[in-house]
């Protein structure tokens, strides 16, 4: 089959790079969800008692709470069959050479160590439940910048972690965040001290490799006053028949005059239940930028919340979702304007094909105490055929009159006439659709760091390949 050659970026790529499984037996796997298992995990990790207390309380909360009564059906999730903790290797290392070869091989194929050399200030890699690699350049360490695995953060900076941990996302936020707090393992801890600026991004890559397993990483990032950070997270998993569960949590704190750009390319395999929770508090004149690309998973439920707490705080939210056959991507955002002169810009796009479902929920709340706030929301959906579905569900609550508000939503099917036009210029139907989809995604791709824009284009190609005619 002829490949679509549009940007000359991507040739001869296949999904195989995501499918590597060559892996020795994991050292340890724990199944199920009991008090004893949580105690074991906590003991393994040498955690302080307050952390175990949170785990136990969260377990209680999980059993008391109900599944959400809206969104995709997830009732088939059977936690008794899920490996809730998978420890792949003993300990975490600072040199890629020290990562066990089979695991390193997988990250090599994903281009992880290579991109660290080229473009990153630091990077981390998590394999199943544990972080296997973490590194930060020396000059950044000297500036007081902290970038460690979450477990290390807990061990080395207990006061700082305790001050922020579970403060953005409470353990009873919803049923699956309670599950997260019971089982959390791995993830990253980042602290950027006052006025520190990084010229290159930090990147954490999460790989869920064990079949029938759950990944519950916790990412906590604090960008202190006047500091800047760009953080990238990537996620992938090989395709299995068994259901995998990802219930991660991201807590972000952007202080006064600070800024954080948080980019995610999510490419979970299509057996993944992705129930992820992200939240950011933004202080006076601070800025959070969310840039998200969601391509994988069987079901996703993800609605990052930005709370604009300080005067002049800003959020920019850029998202693209691509749902193919058997995928139900229920994504969106929540924004709370909780101070005067706060602003939000939302640019969300979704693409669905082969019966895939994309739902975009936006929930914007401008409080009484947030006059002179500005909101601009744009949601666009493109359906590639008539069996796919796209919905946008906006809920806007505006409690003050003194606000500038624009909300635009467009849902459309790919134009047959546009495809005919492109075919009359020699493009096959597949190439024509790919070009239109690429163009549709272009404003989002531009927002990503360049390597990820390339990966995004590659994923679009993979999604479109062989799907037509």
């Amino acid at each position: 089959m002829a490949k679509t050659d549009i940007n000359n970026y991507v040739d001869n790529e296949t999904r195989n790079i995501y499918n590597s499984v060559a892996l020795n037996e994991s050292i340890e796997k724990k199944y199920g969800l009991t008090k004893e298992i949580l105690e074991e995990i906590s003991k393994d990790k040498n955690e302080p008692k307050w952390v175990l207390d949170i785990r136990l309380k969260a377990l209680d909360t999980f059993f008391k709470m109900e599944d959400p009564d809206w969104g995709p059906d997830i009732s088939y999730l059977d936690l008794s069959k899920l490996a809730t903790y998978v420890k792949p290797v003993e300990g975490q290392v600072r040199n890629w050479e020290d990562v066990p070869e089979d695991i390193r091989d997988i990250f090599d194929k994903l281009g992880i160590p290579e991109s660290e050399k080229k473009a990153l200030a630091g990077s981390g890699a998590q394999f199943d439940s544990e972080v296997v690699y973490h590194n930060l350049t020396e000059d950044l360490k000297k500036q007081g910048i902290i970038y460690t695995s979450f477990d290390e953060g807990l061990r080395d900076y207990p006061e700082l972690v305790k001050k922020y941990f579970s403060k953005a996302v409470p353990i009873n936020d919803h049923k699956y965040i309670a599950l997260h707090y019971a089982l959390f393992s791995g993830g990253s801890f980042v602290y950027i001290p006052k006025n520190a600026k990084l010229d290159r991004p930090l990147q954490s890559y999460f790989r869920l490799n064990a079949p029938g397993a759950g990944q519950f990483e916790h990412t906590l990032i604090i960008v202190d006053e006047g500091a800047d950070l760009q953080f990238i997270e990537g996620c992938s998993a090989p395709g299995y028949n068994e259901l995998n569960l990802h219930a991660g949590c991201v807590e972000l704190f952007v202080e006064k005059n600070a800024s954080l750009r948080f980019s995610t390319i999510e490419n979970w395999s299509k057996n993944m239940l992705n129930l992820n929770t992200k939240k950011c508090f933004v202080g006076e004149n601070g800025k959070i930028e969310w840039i998200m690309g969601s391509f994988g998973s069987k079901v996703s439920m993800l609605y990052p919340l930005s709370v604009l707490n300080g005067e002049g705080a800003k959020v920019e939210f850029t998202n693209i979702s691509f749902a193919g056959k058997g995928q139900n991507l229920d994504t969106g955002l929540k924004i709370i304007h909780n101070a005067p002169r706060t602003s939000s810009i939302v640019n969300a796009k979704s693409i669905s094909k082969d019966g895939g479902i994309c739902t975009f929920r936006s929930n914007v709340h401008v409080k009484k105490n947030a006059p002179k706030s500005k909101l601009s929301l744009s949601c666009e959906s493109l359906m590639l055929d008539s069996i796919s579905r796209s919905d946008t569900i906006p809920v806007d609550t505006i409690e003050t009159d003194d606000v500038t508000f624009a909300h635009e939503a467009k849902i459309g099917k790919i134009s047959d006439q546009a495809i005919f036009y492109l075919m009359s210029r020699g493009l096959s139907e597949e190439e024509a659709k790919a070009l239109i989809v690429r163009g549709f995604a272009e404003p989002i791709a531009k927002a990503f760091p360049v390597e990820y824009a390339v990966e995004m284009n590659r994923l679009i190609d993979l999604e479109l390949e062989g799907s037509i005619g």
Binding site: Q417, M423, S424, R425, G426, S428, E429, R438, G439, E442
Partner: protein, 247 residues
């Protein structure tokens, strides 16, 4: 040598199978020729262009289309383009997020099946754009997005020059254009035209024909070509209209 050979072509509309549009159309075009098709609204002029390109809006119920001796009736649209036929659209599409430069490069590579030499290609595009009085900055703009009607039509002519087909079918490229833009389009056609290719112009007006050497003019009424003449026939139509041909 015969380029296009249409025999007894009959079509119906995809969304209304009772609607007969072309009712037995015959047309031959040879290398080096410029043909013009004129006819009242609804006579089937655009249907003819679209049918040659296997538009999904029409269904062929009879007859055949041959190109350079090969039967291309109902061949997929992209394959027809690769054989060397081009069509300038009455309403060109907009492709958001894809720059004009990227579009031209992608389509050129698709039609020829070869990678373009970027340096030479860029020069060629720049040269043609200048000849068509197009602002070169447009290459970085999204394809046709925010272009005026005239700019979109010039862009069609630009693509014809870049893709350099054996046969170019121009479907009312001159409609809605001001005098200067019509002159530019004629200039583009003259730039393109040589002894080895051919042009089929579908039009309502003779303005676009003024600076062209026209070999044949066909009058299309109710799905059939009912009269064929030389260039002078166009002027008669311009003055007298179609009433003589409509019963």
């Amino acid at each position: 040598m015969k380029l296009l050979e249409i025999k007894n072509l009959k079509t119906i509309a995809e969304d209304d199978h009772d609607l007969n549009i072309l009712k037995g159309l015959n047309l031959d075009i040879k290398e080096g020729e410029v043909h013009v098709i004129m006819g009242p609204n609804g006579s089937g002029k655009s249907t003819l262009a679209n049918t040659i390109f296997s538009s999904p809006r029409y269904i062929i119920t009879g007859g055949s289309i041959k190109f350079m001796g090969e039967d291309i009736t109902g061949l997929s649209t992209d394959k027809i383009a690769k054989k060397g036929i081009f069509m300038s659209f009455q309403t060109p599409e907009e492709i958001p997020g894809v720059s004009l430069a990227q579009f031209l490069k992608t389509t050129k590579q698709s039609v020829t099946g070869e990678k373009v030499n970027l340096y030479k290609f860029t020069k060629e595009v720049e040269e043609y754009m200048s000849k068509l009085n197009m602002n070169y900055d447009y290459v970085n703009r999204d394809f046709n997005v925010g272009f005026s009607g005239g700019e979109k039509k010039k862009n069609e002519i630009l693509q014809m020059l870049i893709l350099n087909p054996k046969l170019a079918i121009l479907d009312e490229t001159d409609s809605g254009l001001d005098v200067d833009a019509i002159k530019t389009v004629s200039k583009g056609i003259n730039l393109f035209k040589n002894d080895n290719n051919a042009v089929l112009i579908i039009t309502h007006s003779t303005k676009i024909l003024k600076s062209l050497k026209v070999d044949k003019v066909h009058i299309l009424v109710d799905g059939k070509i009912i009269k064929t003449g030389d260039g002078s026939l166009a002027e008669i139509i311009e003055n007298d209209g179609y009433s003589e041909y409509i019963k």
